[in-house]
Symmetry: C2
C-alpha cells in the first residue's frame, strides 16, 4: 500500500498531470531538492475539483452517520498504512524530528477517530422538535423541526507548520468532512510529497467506503490557485491556518464574491504569559527553563508560541531571565520550515534588535546548516511596550519579549492593550489568586483559551478545547479550529415546518430510528 509520490494533482479519484511541473520540494535542513517535481494546479484543475465537489455535495451530506464515521476512520487507517515512507518524507520536507512527526500522525489519526465519534453521536445535528399545538389560542402552532445541514464544499488551506495535523487530512478537513462537506484542499507547497501521500490515503478511503468521487481533491499551487478556489461560487466556506496577511487576503476575496462566504482564518497570536509574583518567587529558575522549552519547541513554529512574557520587575524576574539565558544559550536550533519563514524570522528579530527601548536578554546558538534561526529573548519596559504597537506583532519562530512591569496595574494595562489571542497563560500560586482574579475578566475578552501553570504550545484535541480567539488571532472568534466544536463552522440550521413525515430527513422523523439526541419543546432528551 506504499504509494509512490508522483507529483500529480489529485482530483476526485484521479491523479492528473497537467504538465505544469513547476513546484519543487526542498529539504530545509540541507537545502537539497527532493524528487519529483510537482504539478501546479491551474484554473482548469480548480474548475474540475469544484465541479466534482459540487456534484458530490447533496449525496455526501446525506450519507448515513455510520457511513460517514466509517469514512473518517478509514482515512486514519489509510494514513497509518502509508507507514514509514510518510514519516520519512514529512521529516525530509519539514526538518521536524521523526518523533514529532510520529506524534503528529497519532494526533491526526486520533482527530479523525474523534470526529467519527462526534458524527455517530449525532448531537452536532442539533435536532430540535417543537410539536404542533393545533388548539393553541389565538393561533395554532405548526409542527417545527430543525437540524443542521452542511454548508457546502469547503476549501481548506494546509498550514506549513503542521504537515499532518493542520494540513491535507488535518482538523479543518476532518471537521468539514464530518459536517458533510466535500473538501478541496490547497496543499501547502512546503510539504508537497507529504501532502500527496496523505491525499492518496483519503482517495483510497473514499474508494473503499464508496463515497461520491468529489468528496475530496488536493490542489497544489500558489496564491493564484488559492484565490481561484475561494472565488469559485461552488465553494461555501474556507478553513485557513497561516499568516495574518494570507488570512486577510482570503477574507477579502470571500467578502467580494457575489455570495460572500465565511472564512475561518487562524492567523496571528503572540500568546502572552503572565508570571505572577508568588509563582516567580517559588520557581523562577524552573519557569525560565521550561519557558525556553516551549519557546524553542519545533523551532518556535507554533501558533501558540509564547511571544510575550509579562512580569513585575524584581530579583525573581532576574532569576527567571538568568535561567532562560542559560537554557537559550545552550539551545542548538534545527532548521526552520522554509527559507521564506527563516528569512521572515531573521527580519523580525533584526527589527526588534533595532527597536527603541528594546534590550536583547538572550540569544540561542547559531547551529549549522541552512535555515537555522537563532532563538531570541528581548525585554522592554511597560511604557515602551504600550507606546509601540509594533512590539505586539508576531515574529513567527523562537522569539519572545519580556515586558517589565512596575505594578499589577501595569500587567492589567498590558492585558487591556494586547490584541486578540489564541491563548493567555498564567503562572501563579495560591497567593496570586487575588491578583489573578482581577485579570481573568480582561483575559476572557482577549483570548480563546486561558491556561494556568503550563505552556500554551500543545493544543489538546478535545471537546472543551478552543483554538481560536478574537481578531487577529482568528477572523471569527465564535469558532474553534481544534476540538470537536470545530465541526460547527461548517453547518447551518434548517427548519422544517409541517413537512409530511415522508419528506423529512431521517434524523427528524417522529420514529427517530437513529436515536439522535433531541431538544423537544425546549427540553433535552437523551436517546
Amino acid at each position: 500500500m506504499n504509494s509512490p509520490i508522483t507529483g500529480e494533482i489529485l482530483i476526485g479519484q484521479r491523479a492528473v498531470d497537467n504538465g505544469q511541473r513547476t513546484l519543487k520540494a526542498v529539504n530545509p535542513a540541507t537545502g537539497e531538492t527532493l524528487a519529483p517535481d510537482f504539478a501546479q494546479a491551474g484554473p482548469a484543475e480548480v474548475e474540475q475539483a469544484c465541479a466534482l465537489a459540487w456534484a458530490a455535495f447533496d449525496a455526501y451530506r446525506e450519507t448515513s452517520l455510520e457511513d460517514r464515521a466509517r469514512f473518517l476512520e478509514a482515512i486514519g487507517e489509510q494514513i497509518m498504512q502509508a507507514g514509514q515512507p510518510l514519516i520519512d518524507r514529512a521529516v525530509a520536507e519539514t526538518a521536524l524530528p521523526p518523533a514529532r512527526i510520529e506524534g503528529e500522525r497519532a494526533r491526526t489519526v486520533g482527530q479523525l477517530r474523534l470526529f467519527a465519534q462526534v458524527v455517530r453521536a449525532g448531537e452536532f445535528l442539533d435536532v430540535r422538535v417543537d410539536p404542533a399545538m393545533p388548539d393553541r389560542q389565538p393561533l395554532p402552532r405548526p409542527d417545527l423541526r430543525l437540524r443542521n445541514i452542511a454548508l457546502g464544499p469547503v476549501a481548506v488551506f494546509g498550514a506549513s507548520n503542521f504537515p499532518l495535523a493542520f494540513s491535507v487530512a488535518g482538523g479543518d478537513t476532518a471537521s468539514a468532512l464530518a459536517a458533510g462537506c466535500p473538501v478541496v484542499v490547497k496543499g501547502h507547497p512546503a510539504h508537497p510529497g507529504t501532502g500527496e501521500l496523505v491525499g492518496r490515503a483519503i482517495q483510497a478511503a473514499a474508494r473503499e467506503c464508496g463515497m461520491p468521487e468529489g468528496v475530496f481533491s488536493l490542489l497544489l499551487g500558489g496564491i493564484e490557485t488559492g484565490a481561484a478556489l475561494v472565488r469559485d461560487e461552488r465553494v461555501k466556506a474556507v478553513g485557513f491556518t497561516g499568516s495574518r496577511g494570507g488570512g486577510l487576503a482570503l477574507v477579502d476575496i470571500a467578502s467580494k464574491r457575489r455570495e460572500p462566504i465565511p472564512v475561518f482564518a487562524e492567523m496571528s497570536s503572540i500568546n502572552p504569559v503572565f508570571l505572577f509574583p508568588a509563582a516567580l518567587a517559588a520557581r523562577a529558575a524552573d519557569l525560565g527553563k521550561a519557558f525556553v522549552g516551549s519557546l524553542t519547541m519545533g523551532a518556535g513554529q507554533f501558533c501558540t508560541n509564547p511571544g510575550i512574557v509579562v512580569a513585575l520587575e524584581s530579583p525573581d524576574l532576574d532569576r527567571f531571565l538568568k535561567a532562560a539565558d542559560e537554557a537559550l544559550s545552550a539551545h542548538v536550533p534545527s532548521a526552520m520550515l522554509t527559507p521564506g519563514i527563516h528569512g521572515a524570522y531573521e527580519k523580525g528579530v533584526q527589527a526588534l534588535e533595532k527597536a527603541e527601548g528594546v534590550q536583547v536578554c538572550a540569544r540561542g546558538g547559531a547551529g549549522e546548516g541552512p535555515n537555522r534561526g537563532r532563538a531570541a529573548l528581548f525585554s522592554t519596559s511597560i511604557g515602551n511596550f504600550l507606546a509601540q504597537d509594533a512590539l505586539q506583532h508576531e515574529v513567527f519562530g523562537a522569539s519572545s519579549m519580556v515586558v517589565r512591569c512596575k505594578s499589577i496595574d501595569d500587567m492589567r494595562q498590558v492585558a487591556e492593550r494586547i490584541e486578540g489571542q489564541l491563548t493567555v497563560t498564567l503562572h501563579l500560586e495560591e497567593a496570586d489568586y487575588e491578583l489573578a482574579r482581577s485579570l481573568v475578566p480582561v483575559l476572557e475578552r482577549k483570548a480563546g483559551r486561558i491556561l494556568a501553570n503550563g505552556w500554551p504550545t500543545g493544543v489538546e484535541v478535545a471537546h472543551a478545547m478552543v483554538h481560536g480567539g478574537p481578531f487577529p488571532a482568528t477572523s471569527d472568534s465564535r469558532f474553534t479550529s481544534v476540538g470537536t466544536l470545530a465541526i460547527r463552522r461548517f453547518l447551518r440550521p434548517v427548519s422544517y415546518q409541517a413537512l409530511p413525515a415522508q419528506l423529512l430527513p431521517e434524523s427528524l422523523r417522529p420514529e427517530n430510528l437513529a436515536r439522535i439526541p433531541r431538544l423537544e419543546d425546549g427540553k433535552r432528551l437523551l436517546p
Copy 2:
C-alpha cells in the same frame, strides 16, 4: 407608569436632550406630524452610549442566570405596563391595525419570557468539561473546561415593519441581553415615539433589577448615527433587519474596522411558493384566496412575504389565478409604513409592469389617503424568469410574480436559480410527494425554513425556528434572528485549562451549584 413621550435620547438611565430636535414622527395613514419632535443622536451621544455599554459589559455578562432572566421578564412587564398609550402610539406611527399591534406586543413579551427560560436553563453556555488524565501516555491530559461568554456590546438596528417585535425590545435585543451583551439600539425613525416608550420600559426594568446602567441605550438618528455606532470599537456585533442595501452597508463598515465584527443582517427574501399539481387540482380556488391573504397581510410588509409563486401551467393554475384576482380586486389597502417605503413599492411595481415578458394578472384596490400601495400580481414564463435576474429582486410590499412552468424540471430550475431565501413554501398532496422529494435537497440549500401547506408570513418564536438563510436573505446563514437559537449569534467559546477552581467562573466549577447541563468527556449529562 404611563411615561410621556419627550423626544429625548435614552442613554443608560438618563434622558438627554442635545438640542438637535430634527426628527418628526408622521402618521402614514394621514400624513399628519405627531408631537413631539425627536432629538437626533450625534457623535457625542454615540460616544456616551458606547462608553456606558463598555463599562457595563464585564459586570452584566457575569450577572447570575436568575438575575438576567428576571431582567428580561421585567422588561416584558414594563412593556405591558406601558398599556394602551403604547398601542395607540404604535398604531398612529405605523398605520398597522390595533389587533396586529396587540398581537405583536404579546409576541414581544412572550419572546422576552422565552429567552428568560433559555437563560435559566443554561444550555446556551455550552458547558463542556474534559477531566484531567494525569496518567495518559505519552502525555497527560490537562483539565479542560469550556463555556460561552458574551461577545460584547451589541448594536441593534430596529426594523420599520415590526415596531415592537423587531425593534427596541425585539428579538435582537432580547437575545443579545440574554447572551450577556449590553445593547445600544439605533431606533427606527419611522416609529420614534413607540421606540421611546419601549426604551423607557427597558430603562425602568434595568433600574428595578439593579442592572449596570450601560446595559441599554436608545439612539435615534439617521445613517450617520448608525455608521458611527458600528464603527465604535467597543461595539462587538451588530443585529439588523432591513433592506439589502442597508445591511450590506453595515457589513462593509464592520469589515473595515481595525477589529472586524460580525453583522447579522436579515435583508432580502422573495419567499418562493411552489404549488404542486395535485394540490392545485384539489384546492386551487382556496389556495388563490389564502395566498392573497398572506400577500396583503400588513400591507405586504413582511420579510417573509410570498414574492414568487412557481407552478405548472394548467387549468388548475388558471383557477388559482382567478380566485387570487377576485380576492385581490376586493382588497382595500391600508397605508404603508412610510412615504419612502410606499415610494419604493410603487417604483418596484412600475418596473415590473414595464419589464419584458411580464403580464399583470391582478391589481388590488387603490384605497383612500396617502401611502396606499395597490397590491399587484404579475406572471411570466419560465424562460423569461430565468433570463432576467431583476425579476428576483424583492419589491417590499404586496407584490408577487407567478412563474409559469411547463414541467417539474422547470420548477427545479427555478429552485436552483433563486438566490438564498428566508423561506420556501410547498403546497402539496400525497400524490405530489414523489415530485417534492426531488426538490427538497435543492430547497435546503436555498432557504432557512421549508414549510408545507401553509404560508410563510407568521414566524413562530420557538426552539426549532430558523429565521435566516443563505445570502442575500441574511449576511450569515449559520444563524437565526428569531427563536431561541438567536442567542448563539452573540456568544463565543472560551476554554479554561488547568485553572484553579477558585479562578473558574461559577458555571465551570466542579460542584456545579447552578446545575447547568454539561457535556462531560463527550457525554451529555443532564442536571
